[in-house]
Subunit: 201 residues, 2 copies
Amino acid sequence: MKSMKTVAVLLFEDFETLDVFGPVEVFGVLKKEYYVTFYSQKGGLVSNSHRVSVDSKPLAEIDSKPDIFLIPGGYGTREEVNNPELITIIKAVSESSNYVMTVCTGTALLARTGLLDGKNATSNKRAFEWVMGQGPEVIWIKKARWVVDGKYYTASGVSAGIDMTLGFLKDQHGVDYARDIAFKIEYTWHEDKANDPFGIL
Amino acid sequence: MKSMKTVAVLLFEDFETLDVFGPVEVFGVLKKEYYVTFYSQKGGLVSNSHRVSVDSKPLAEIDSKPDIFLIPGGYGTREEVNNPELITIIKAVSESSNYVMTVCTGTALLARTGLLDGKNATSNKRAFEWVMGQGPEVIWIKKARWVVDGKYYTASGVSAGIDMTLGFLKDQHGVDYARDIAFKIEYTWHEDKANDPFGIL
């Protein structure tokens, strides 16, 4: 356990299913190296409009610095950007984490903390205007599958979270390592983070 | 609710994360048309080795004929093929469902019911020998992203479940409809079910 990397996954009501479970599948293949834990503001079951209900620990129980903090998107972010208590916790956990990953509109939650100000980031192009409004000082990249700026990894919509997580593994372990994981889960990885085949902007 | 299609998702200990949540994401985009419910043998929280813990209803509470019965794979299938009580329930629910979908080694569970005997089916190529052993009378297709035989849809490994679910939507609603969903979740859909880019057999 000591030598394992810890992945803290944030949940909130009406998270996007695949924003969470795409990256979790990738880390799950590496379950001897990455240890995933789900957290939410209050802990307990967290549900979404896809009728998924997932168990979680309260965020207050994060007692160490996660290696990776994963923030998904989903319609719930429209509520949570106006939840100052959660944004405060997201800021604190993001600051203490070695890496922070956001998927889709999860970038809006991170943007609200101010931690992305002056940094490059992206999000779902179909919600881009709204996301940009959550962080006017962020350097928003309109065409990108995912963006890396220091410890911050931000992805476009839904499946882009899988591409970004594989990209993170490439950065950590090399491209062959990441390709091997993609092959195991039979996923056609978009290796080039600048190539945004689903961009509309 | 009356006009919605019902999707019953089977869970068991150590299911594969993306086998479940790939298809659930696709149906989730269509949440006004497809109503997803998670079931397990006893109900309650069901966990896997990726440390995901999902709430479920007991299979005994399925009180109507689901439109779609989804059976995921995962290491847990190695145990469950030897769980006659579960196989009996899977057989009954499969018989009463309009469509049955399996992902990865989930095909092994369906094969154990005998319902696939004499039918075409596929599974994960990296577990193919073992899966074939669970249904010697099945016509196993060694090169396929997914296979359709009547009401039975069987997919290759993990992400192939997303391709198959989109393929199901194509069969139900046309190819443009399915492509629109793939675009929304930013997923590069393998449209040709005979094309198996991850095949090793």
